[in-house]
């Protein structure tokens, strides 16, 4: 195993249409380990790069855990652990338990949406090789980047650079490791 000297090669574009076109091209060309960078969410970019998204499943699980957990808590507290007989009314008065069950369903789903949207993206992560690229500051402002990473199976410095040049970017740069 020889360490790759660079993280990847990045091409810089001026518009989001160009970036999506380039991403589709690169995917068709067989590249898989790559990422697009844009200052706003570009429709279809993740699909063009072949990215998968399992977040909704996690959020569903969070909601289910929150809901069942909430109902269980109420039932356990008011029926098992600390029952209070008020005029012989039923202890397991489920309609009165619904509002909190609902709130905790929402809370569980929301907490998991937040935690997993960041966690699955590997955030928080203060350092990343992409930040070594001086122009990369503009990815959060007005420029669009496509970076093909060096550990992609089809990555070869010369041919990959030539391929990226064929996409007519503004600039191409190596991203240091």
């Amino acid at each position: 195993m020889n360490e790759p000297k660079i993280f990847g090669i990045a091409a810089e574009f001026e518009s989001h249409e160009q970036l999506v076109r380039a991403a589709k091209n690169a995917y068709a060309h067989g590249f898989r380990k790559m990422d697009g960078y844009a200052p706003f969410p570009v429709d279809g970019l993740a699909e063009a790069l072949g990215k998968k998204n399992r977040l909704p499943l996690f959020v569903l699980c969070g909601g289910v855990v929150g809901g069942f957990g909430g109902y269980f808590m109420e039932w356990f507290a008011n029926v098992v652990s600390y029952p209070i007989n008020i005029g012989g009314r039923p202890l397991h008065s489920w309609p009165a338990f619904i509002p909190i069950t609902f709130e905790l369903t929402v809370l569980g789903a929301a907490l998991s949406a937040f935690a997993f949207s960041l966690g699955l993206s590997g955030l928080p992560r203060p350092y990343h090789p992409m930040f070594n690229l001086p122009e990369f500051e503009r990815a959060s402002q007005d420029r669009f980047f496509l970076c093909i990473e060096a550990d992609d199976k089809r990555f070869q410095e010369e041919s990959t650079r030539q391929f990226l040049e064929s996409l007519a970017p503004v600039r191409i740069a190596d991203v240091p490791q």
Partner: protein, 468 residues
């Protein structure tokens, strides 16, 4: 600042829809660079404008009054307030309901309008969400201060304590803790998740080391990658979907605090929808009261165009009419019920010792908003500001009328009483306004108050920006 790039005559000219409404979401020929610069420079510049300092100073003084009022309350106890039996819920609960209602507009704008693809939320959603957080923070303090012994507030939470007791989960007051707690948590997550990409923009534009570190830390290493954006957008949409029922549920639960009681004037099935409409009404009024000066001071007319003002005025007006309908039905039902106590309560609400307050309420919440039929009033920032301000006052009075006039005369004349706020009640009310404003001013100074990434999206797709 973008104002320098665009000729003044074009700034003023607004495209009109066939119905005569202003239709631009962005000023003419706004570019990525304009958007980035005009929003982030507010945060990154060295000096805040003089108006900011003046507002901050006022907010600071009010906040000190709040600290004083709260400290004295903790030292002397609830006796310093005007509350007693029968009016055991005084200003604290009035303020609570008022503040939490104000918060609802932020969630309405950020969640419901997002799900409905209303692009006119773009420039105001961040500010409105921040307003929600700060309003809910103020709201949450009120019932805690009203507890009597606020330092044991955690007894309200379910945890296996040494006393072997659990909260009574059938009580609307316990529902309230969960509703407000969830609301605050979801709002803060939603707000922060939306902020992360903009914090990355600020990090990348910052030139000072402390700014790079501070915003870099908050940005969590956001790289704008397709992966990040995909999950971010999914999470954002899901959070919007989750926050949407919260908009309806939180104030419904708050209204159940009243409606589940048997008191005439509280025990009413119209309360949940009527409270929700009132919440959105006062919330939009507060957003307008914040946005109009901010837009003027920071020259954001190109981002917060007239169309935003007009649309917000429309929502405020529509919910205002619903609230007016609620007043009407409340009065009608108390007569139609044939219940002597209900009828008596309504008569005394309107003509009794607190009757004049009821008429001020009618003036502020029913009559004044009728001016919004006029497009000139809706599109004129000055008149709109005044109307929104009166609506806010009116909504506070509404809660006062509901809480105090219902409590002061219930079933048995021997248990009647009266209520007058003390100096400390007023200090707590205005002090909480100080807390709210203080947080708002700090937010405006330290964080981007308009979503930069969403504004860039509008620049990239002009069709969205000028959609009707």
């Amino acid at each position: 600042m973008s104002a320098g790039i665009i000729p003044p005559d074009e700034q003023v000219r607004t495209r009109l829809s066939p119905l005569g409404y202003p239709s631009n979401l962005l000023g003419p020929r706004v570019t990525y660079a304009d958007v980035n610069e005009s929003i982030s420079s507010i945060v990154l510049r060295d000096r805040a404008p003089a108006q900011w300092w003046i507002g901050f100073a006022v907010a600071f003084c009010l906040l000190m009054i709040f600290f004083l009022a709260v400290s004295w309350l903790l030292i002397r106890g609830l006796g310093i307030w005007g509350v007693n039996i029968p009016v055991a819920w005084g200003f604290a609960i009035v303020n609570f309901v008022w503040w939490i209602g104000i918060g609802h507009a932020g969630t309405f704008i950020s969640a419901i309008l997002l799900l409905m693809f209303q692009h006119w939320r773009t420039s105001i959603n961040r500010l409105a969400e921040a307003m929600t957080l700060f309003a809910v923070a103020c709201a949450g303090l009120m019932p805690l201060l009203h507890l009597g012994r606020p330092w044991v507030f955690f007894w309200l939470l379910p945890y296996p304590d040494t006393m072997g007791m659990w909260p009574q989960f059938r009580s609307p007051l316990v529902w309230d803790i969960f509703a407000v707690g969830t609301y605050f948590t979801v709002s803060i997550l939603f707000w922060f998740l939306g902020l992360v990409p903009d914090l990355a923009t600020i990090r990348d534009r910052a030139r000072k080391v402390w700014q790079k570190k501070f915003y870099g830390f908050l940005a969590l290493g956001w790289r704008n990658s397709a992966d990040h954006w995909q999950r971010h957008q999914t999470a954002y949409l899901l959070l919007a979907g989750l926050a949407t029922p919260l908009v309806l549920s939180v104030h419904s639960v708050v209204s159940l605090d009243f409606a589940v009681a048997q008191l005439p004037g509280w025990h009413s099935t119209i309360f949940p929808p009527y409270f929700v409409a009132g919440a959105i009404y006062s919330g939009f009024a507060m957003v307008l009261n914040i946005v109009i000066p901010v837009r003027k001071i920071y020259h954001l007319e190109n981002l917060i165009t007239e169309r935003y003002l007009n649309n917000m005025a429309n929502v405020m007006f529509a919910t205002g009419l619903m609230v007016s309908y609620g007043y009407f039905i409340e009065a009608f039902m108390s007569w139609y019920s044939g219940d002597i106590f209900e009828q008596y309560m309504m008569t005394y609400r309107v003509f009794g010792p607190y009757g004049w307050i009821f008429w001020v309420l009618m003036l502020c919440n029913v009559l004044v908003p009728q001016t919004l039929w006029s497009r000139r009033i809706r599109c004129n920032p000055f008149t709109l500001f005044i109307v929104a301000f009166l609506v806010n006052v009116g909504m506070w009075i509404e809660r006062f009328v509901i809480v105090v006039t219902s409590l002061h005369r219930d079933f048995i004349p021997s248990s009647w009483g009266s209520y007058a706020p003390t100096l400390w009640d007023w200090a707590t009310l205005f002090g909480s306004v100080g807390l709210f404003l203080m947080l708002l001013f700090l937010f405006i100074r330290l964080l981007p108050m308009i979503s930069i990434s969403e504004s860039r999206e509008l620049v990239a797709e002009p069709a969205k920006a000028n959609a009707l």
